[in-house]
């Protein structure tokens, strides 16, 4: 009975992975079909032509560059804000902490379009109040996309850094202060080194969340566009398989990254296992 259930579990998992992957394979496959429409059936012969068209698409590469720039801006803003928020939260307690925490995580739950609209309205209104409607800062554009994205991505950073702070020993800071370190040194030499793993991970998450973002960007952007929004507009208005070619490249990139990550993980696990075996042997040798 239990064996059957385990088998059923394996089977369901395999089916699920297939369900997740088949649409992506179909989409990638259509990149090589010599047909004007993105499809795999009917198969009209193999071609590389769509990759050539993808390469020649200037707008797409501009959008790609914009995506990277916005993502870098988001990382540059969200990581310091989120880290500072975690440090502040960690040093207070009680009702005020709970309220502050509530405000900080609320944007994670807020729908992207609400964040987008409210950001545009606020900065636009501020421009109006200051009598500076024509200043580009207050109009729609990718800078507002970045600000809108920061409002919820900073919360991810805050949550990750806050989790890491739980394992920090404040006594280390006391010791450093007692030994004559100044405040900057305490931050730079004691606290930040402990937080670096969490800061690095949250920077990576912030970067990819920003690249992925669609809703906030769509509502806040002006003429300049990002990759996700560009793909969307291409799909909506007359698609050619060059989007499939792009999808193929991104999927291959994802697979390579996943493979590298997995091999790295296995190597580390093996080293760890060897170390443990070594320790066990040493212990046995000592007892003998």
């Amino acid at each position: 009975m239990s064996r059957n259930r385990t088998l059923l579990g394996h089977f369901y998992f395999a089916l699920f992975v297939l369900y997740l992957l088949v649409p992506l394979i179909v989409m990638a496959g259509a990149a090589f079909n010599d047909s004007k429409l993105p499809t795999v059936a009917p198969w009209k012969g193999f071609t590389w032509a769509w990759f050539g068209e993808l390469w020649a698409d200037q707008t797409l590469w501009g959008a790609f560059l914009n995506s990277i720039l916005v993502a870098l801006a988001v990382v540059a803003l969200a990581v310091p804000i989120g880290t500072a928020a975690a440090i502040v939260l960690n040093s207070i307690s009680g009702k005020f902490r709970a309220t502050l925490y509530g405000f900080m995580v609320a944007p994670v739950l807020a729908p992207g379009l609400v964040i987008g609209i409210s950001t545009v309205l606020f900065w636009n209104q501020m421009g109006h109040t200051l009598g500076a409607e024509d200043v580009a800062l207050f109009g729609r554009g990718l800078h507002l996309s970045a600000l809108g994205q920061v409002s919820y991505i900073a919360a991810y950073v805050m949550l990750l850094v806050l989790a890491r702070l739980q394992s920090f020993d404040p006594g280390l800071e006391e010791a450093a202060l007692d030994l004559g370190a100044n405040h900057g040194q305490v931050l730079r030499r004691i606290l930040l080194p402990h937080l670096y793993p969490a800061i690095a991970a949250s920077a990576a998450i912030a970067f990819f969340q920003s690249i992925e973002n669609f809703n906030v960007t769509l509502f806040t952007k002006a003429n300049e566009t990002t990759l996700t929004v560009y793909v969307f507009s291409q799909v909506r208005s007359g698609i050619t398989p060059k989007i499939n070619a792009l999808a193929f490249l991104l999927i291959v990139l994802t697979l390579v990254l996943a493979l590298v990550y997995e091999m790295n993980r296995r190597r580390r696990a093996r080293i760890e296992a060897e170390r443990q075996a070594e320790a066990r042997r040493a212990e046995e040798a000592m007892l003998a």
């Binding site: 579990g9 369901y12 998992f13 699920f16 992975v17 997740l20 649409p23 992506l24 179909v26 259509a30 429409l37 499809t39 795999v40 059936a41 310091p80 804000i81 500072a84 440090i87 040093s91 502050l100 509530g102 405000f103 900080m104 609320a106 994670v108 739950l109 729908p111 379009l113 609400v114 609209i117 409210s118 950001t119 309205l121 606020f122 900065w123 209104q125 109006h128 409607e133 920061v150 900073a154 202060l177 100044n182 305490v186 931050l187 690249i211 669609f214 809703n215 769509l218 996700t228 793909v231 969307f232 799909v235 909506r236 698609i239 989007i243 999808a247 991104l250 999927i251 990550y261 997995e262």
Partner: protein, 311 residues
């Protein structure tokens, strides 16, 4: 607060507080307040803003009741405003998507947490993560390719002899929202999986074995032991999937038929095509209220706290 100053000095503490204040005030509170305030003001040319016509009213919210059309509910003919219909459809089909993802994800979460061998877990999770890394626009596009009239799905079904004529999947077989529900389920099922998986992992396997040893059939073990323990995860997953589905603009636009309108599309039309930002703000206030209502409903239904959901 004194603790902060003692450790990092006045300068650094002020910098931390400034960063936090910028985030909370400039990026969260004031923008939402601006949306709230502007949703009550009429849409006017720039010159008339602040003029005599610029008064607060509920007119923008009232627009959702315009444009009635004849329809039937359970066979009764009624006149219903078109935006109300869109709104109700969005809420209903998003709930349906939430239900489907829960049904698909729960067995898998249980499998990952309790059946699969712990050594293989990182590899299995990675396999599930790969499709997540591919952007949502492309995942929706993948289904566009599959569901299209001359696409592989119709070709495969015809080859197998299941159907004789190609089906227009995007127009829907059961309702005009079929394609949207299929694709939203596909896009967001993993957002249901991971919270439930995390919740079940923390359940002591001995409890399941004790239930089985005492003669509980498998379904009762799940109903009385596993599901009660996984409640915060289920609530969190439901909130995530519902919000993402109801707030999706991409999926309905890419795969939806012309007959299937999604509420964010209506908001976007007000905002971008009509350039009536005030009505757009009023509609997104309505949308925000629904989301808040859904979160509260889930908290009541599963008897969990907000901090359990927003993990």
């Amino acid at each position: 607060m004194q603790d902060l100053i003692r450790r990092y000095g006045t300068g650094l503490s002020a910098l931390f507080c400034l960063l936090v204040a910028f985030w909370i005030v400039m990026l969260i509170i004031l923008p939402n307040f601006a949306m709230f305030e502007q949703s009550f003001r009429p849409y006017l040319p720039v010159a008339e803003i602040g003029g005599p016509k610029d008064v607060y009213s509920l007119a923008n919210y009232g627009k959702i009741l315009d444009n009635g059309f004849e329809t039937t509910i359970f066979g009764l003919p009624v006149t219903m405003p078109i935006h109300i219909k869109t709104f109700l459809d969005t809420v209903f089909y998003s709930s349906l998507v939430t239900f489907f993802t829960l049904v698909f994800a729960y067995p898998l979460a249980y499998y990952l947490a309790k059946i699969a061998s712990p050594r293989s877990i990182p590899t299995l999770l990675l396999l599930l993560f790969i499709p997540m890394w591919v952007s949502e626009a492309l995942r929706a596009f993948a289904w566009y390719v599959i569901l299209t009239f001359n696409g592989p799905l119709n070709a495969a079904l015809k080859a197998l002899g299941i159907i004789e004529e190609s089906i227009r999947w995007q127009n829907g077989v059961f309702t005009s929202y079929d394609a949207i529900v299929i694709v939203l389920t596909y896009c967001y099922v993993l957002f249901m999986l991971f919270p439930i998986y995390t919740a079940i992992t923390s359940l002591d396997t001995n409890q399941i074995e004790a239930a089985e040893d005492l003669g509980s059939p498998w379904w009762r073990t799940h109903w009385r032991v596993v599901i009660p323990h996984a409640k915060p995860g289920i609530a969190s997953g439901c909130v995530m999937v519902f919000m993402l589905s109801a707030g999706s603009l991409l999926v309905p636009t890419v795969v939806g038929s012309t007959k299937a309108n999604w509420f964010p599309q209506t908001i976007y039309t007000w905002f971008n095509d009509a350039l009536d930002w005030n009505t757009g703000a009023a509609y997104s206030m309505i949308f925000l209220l629904v989301c808040i209502f859904f979160v509260i409903l889930m908290m009541r239904l599963f008897k969990v706290k907000l901090s359990d959901i927003a993990k």
